[in-house]
Assembly symmetry: D2
Amino acid sequence: MSDRIRVALIGFGYWGPNLLRNFAEIEDAEVKLVCDPRPDLARRIGARYPSVELVGRFEDVIARTDIDALVIATPPQCHAPMGMAALESGRHVWIEKPLATSVRDAERLANKAESRGLTLFVDHTFVYTGAVRKMRELVTTDEVGKVLYYDSVRVNLGLVQSDISVLWDLAVHDLSIMDYVIGAKPVSVSALGVSHVAKDAPASIAYLTVFCEGGLIGHCHVNWLAPVKIRRTLIGGDRRMIVYDDLDSNFEIKIFDSGVDLDSNDLKVNYRAGDVRVPRLDRTEALARASRHFIDAIRRGAAPLTGAAAGIRVVQILEAAERSLARQGAPISLEPVS
Amino acid sequence: MSDRIRVALIGFGYWGPNLLRNFAEIEDAEVKLVCDPRPDLARRIGARYPSVELVGRFEDVIARTDIDALVIATPPQCHAPMGMAALESGRHVWIEKPLATSVRDAERLANKAESRGLTLFVDHTFVYTGAVRKMRELVTTDEVGKVLYYDSVRVNLGLVQSDISVLWDLAVHDLSIMDYVIGAKPVSVSALGVSHVAKDAPASIAYLTVFCEGGLIGHCHVNWLAPVKIRRTLIGGDRRMIVYDDLDSNFEIKIFDSGVDLDSNDLKVNYRAGDVRVPRLDRTEALARASRHFIDAIRRGAAPLTGAAAGIRVVQILEAAERSLARQGAPISLEPVS
Amino acid sequence: MSDRIRVALIGFGYWGPNLLRNFAEIEDAEVKLVCDPRPDLARRIGARYPSVELVGRFEDVIARTDIDALVIATPPQCHAPMGMAALESGRHVWIEKPLATSVRDAERLANKAESRGLTLFVDHTFVYTGAVRKMRELVTTDEVGKVLYYDSVRVNLGLVQSDISVLWDLAVHDLSIMDYVIGAKPVSVSALGVSHVAKDAPASIAYLTVFCEGGLIGHCHVNWLAPVKIRRTLIGGDRRMIVYDDLDSNFEIKIFDSGVDLDSNDLKVNYRAGDVRVPRLDRTEALARASRHFIDAIRRGAAPLTGAAAGIRVVQILEAAERSLARQGAPISLEPVS
Amino acid sequence: MSDRIRVALIGFGYWGPNLLRNFAEIEDAEVKLVCDPRPDLARRIGARYPSVELVGRFEDVIARTDIDALVIATPPQCHAPMGMAALESGRHVWIEKPLATSVRDAERLANKAESRGLTLFVDHTFVYTGAVRKMRELVTTDEVGKVLYYDSVRVNLGLVQSDISVLWDLAVHDLSIMDYVIGAKPVSVSALGVSHVAKDAPASIAYLTVFCEGGLIGHCHVNWLAPVKIRRTLIGGDRRMIVYDDLDSNFEIKIFDSGVDLDSNDLKVNYRAGDVRVPRLDRTEALARASRHFIDAIRRGAAPLTGAAAGIRVVQILEAAERSLARQGAPISLEPVS
């Protein structure tokens, strides 16, 4: 490995400029090239990053000898084939969420990375925000108590995609947050949705429910056709409750010293409403923290926070959700992931 | 019938004072009595309404000869038996939502009222608000276009009830609004939920989905254990979209001239974001309008807006939802109501 | 004095029904009559409160022998003459804000009440809210530290009055809150405003600034012509800051552990932004607490929280403000009130 | 003039990166250098813009022969001397707001630019936002009717500056917006404020009132010590009213079809509350539009929208405001600007 980790950025769509900017600012990393078939990007990238090369074909990147790590930000269907090619050629890999579009592919990536001793990182970006980290802290230190439910709404007027459903685009965020913050073991999944483009097109609005061990219920509403942008999550604990509003920059996380006191003897339930606290959050850009973490994981050979295991867990739920969705919400049991 | 319609109010719980106040203000109606077993209510009611009698037993109300109409505001389980007794004794009946706790009971009430030529009214209160009436106007005049989805969140830190689920307490509102505003024909229902009191207790958090003819999907999230009160509905049409926030007194209804332009040939979807309009609403208290409407329906012998048919449609969905909920969301087909 | 304190309510405008309802619910008080020249009120009041008499002329109330206390809710110009007549006839007096329309009148009322040993209460209602009481607690326990400024906006689309300016209608609330919460000694006053009705009509929009001892600056913006209702106060302390939003029922008081750290040596100023806390507030209706407090003050012969002294302090500022307003904001010094 | 207009950016503080980024993206302009005394900026600027030189001394920039225009983003005290030097050496000049710290200096700049036939631009950035442009359209097309008042709050927890008051830092924005949107002729100014750093330090909180011809009153509250960020402007017209909230990205401009109907005969005032409309805004970055406009003005030799005249008008009010502030709000008459 060279002194600085040499990075190739694969795909330069919506998220590409953010990836480029963040990796460019890491001292011991160096962005060597961007791989994208559109030749007109050369001028745009060159104006800001003259040392970054534009390469048109992925095969040419694989053939290079001056690349240590690939950052793959292409459509989900390409994650597995490109990730496999990269790992097989001995490169560390960062893959945008979701890790793959099937559990089988995700597991193949995981196995390959493990057998080759390479770092495999999935960009569950929200895990690296100050807000989500604070929520995990509140759950793990038992401030929230036993978590009863996780409910999220993530809707906006967005780009309707024709090849994947809104689950793979939006619910993947909620599942990765829930996986990190709560860490509950999912038991079964139910999903409902419809497409507004054509009868059999991928769902553009969907409702996903995850039943977990211990009775916890997780639910998210994802929607590309909402007139307003809403990103609000409620976490109900038996001690405290959290409201997380990603769009309320002043009061992103609110902790309610409120809840219900369950008296299991007589089934009487009393509620209690107390103070609310808005904790000060670390405002570091999530992608800055994530890219730094990826480079560190490569250097230290340590498993990243959002590695193959987290990636597989999320894909497993999404895969089951698509099957449930095809059966109008019939619950699908989840096998324990190996 | 006497010159003024003589009303007996059955049950004086949370909603009782509002019913009493509103019926007391109708010129051609007269509240003769409140029926409630708690003797200490006499002083409280008498202080404000000295001419209103307190009667302890329901049977004694039925036996009276000076009562034309019963306003039944007791727990849902009592709606059918009390309603039947009232109809059988020849009285017009107002029943708080839901009309009954089963379709069978609801239909028996409907049949009895019809055969006796009596008015049967179910208090789907929201139907009488300026906001909901405005939404119906926007849908029926085709301003919204084809309705694609109806999504509602109705949560707060509320009184957890031990004998009925949150569906019968809260989702009933959303179903009655959806029935009135959209008027779509439901085809199947899926519901998920859990109790946080005891494993087999009625659900305190639930998600209800209604699939309707034409592909419309309706969904509501109801929850007694939320730290904040949210009452927000999104209606997505292919022309315009509506956000209805019952708690935002300044901007209750927002109409977005936004949406998606579906090109069914190439499955390309473009979105369009335009102006937003906040219409001025009629601020008449819903219950004032509803009680006035009930008295008028009696006088004219006309079917009320929220009569037996609306009541049955809502109960049918709730009943199916409970069955789906017991099977973790398995979809339940709805038979056409006779 | 009779066993129950017998109250006469003078004036039955916007605030009248609230006063009647609250005094009617006090066990050891009894509302004997409402005095208002509109005969049609008889039916409206009688329907709810059949034992309450309607009296047309104020003189007839004064002449009665069965009245212990007068609650005066007439236009401000009537406060002093009616209050004096009531005190001279030996009655305790509650006067709506402002106590009077001049310091001279306010002092005459105060002297009369004192010489006769009667209770004189001015209805600075906000002082009796949970939010304002909490703010006083935060200031007096030094949580806020040294108060640097008090800034309030109280605007809406309101009833433009032709005989008094918006200062006497709206700023009176802010001054009474500031007087109670901060208790700073005002030194000079500046006010600016214009009328939008006619050049010389009383101001319908005004800005009032109070300079206090110790450098504290108080400011309020009051406006009858604003398209939205805003009632927001900022209190800046050198330890913590408060945002009080009377219309945000969930987060009425927010305490910011934020501020500036002043280093007086090198004039460097650093700011610090920490957690925010939303304290749980007592939700008792302010007028219930105020009316109860008035009756208790009469019984115990104790000075009420908002008695003559508070009333005079507020009127003094309003009087000076009108003088400043006539001179386009020229500052007016305040003499210490005797 | 070379084919592309060659720009030197003077000062690289808070606003510098935004200026650099925007000017770098203009096709027919070229950023040749940044002038800033901090040598460590070389690496930071070079990483992104390797063709941009870092020059330490302003004199060296003036001595260059390859510069057509200077973009001056230094502290306000430097605006006049640097602007004069630039104009005298024949360069076009962009100056950050305020144009200068005195009317005399501002007029000297204006005269110099005029006599040399050079473009002088002052960066009243908000004038180039979609929101402010929409407001001007609403006022000039008479949708708003006669403007009665302009009220703005612009507060946050900001960097307290030791050499200029908060007026020159924040109120300058409101004055430039008001100047552009309303275009009313100011007649007199009153300002109040205090410093919380030291008794005689520049004000850190201030209230500024501008009386204009025709009775219009403009007011702004500016504050570096507020716990929350508020940027809200109310514009009251006799036909419609506007609420402009710079921080509400979804509903930045709200147009209220509400107001007061003044009947000047009997001084009766009725209010009317109608629909609200939220217009869709152009989302182009203000600085992109402003920098483009500056380059175009140079090319065409045309007066820019925010040229010397607008800059002088704003400085005149700020200068008068400081004098009023020193006399606790005593009103200061404004001489017509030549």
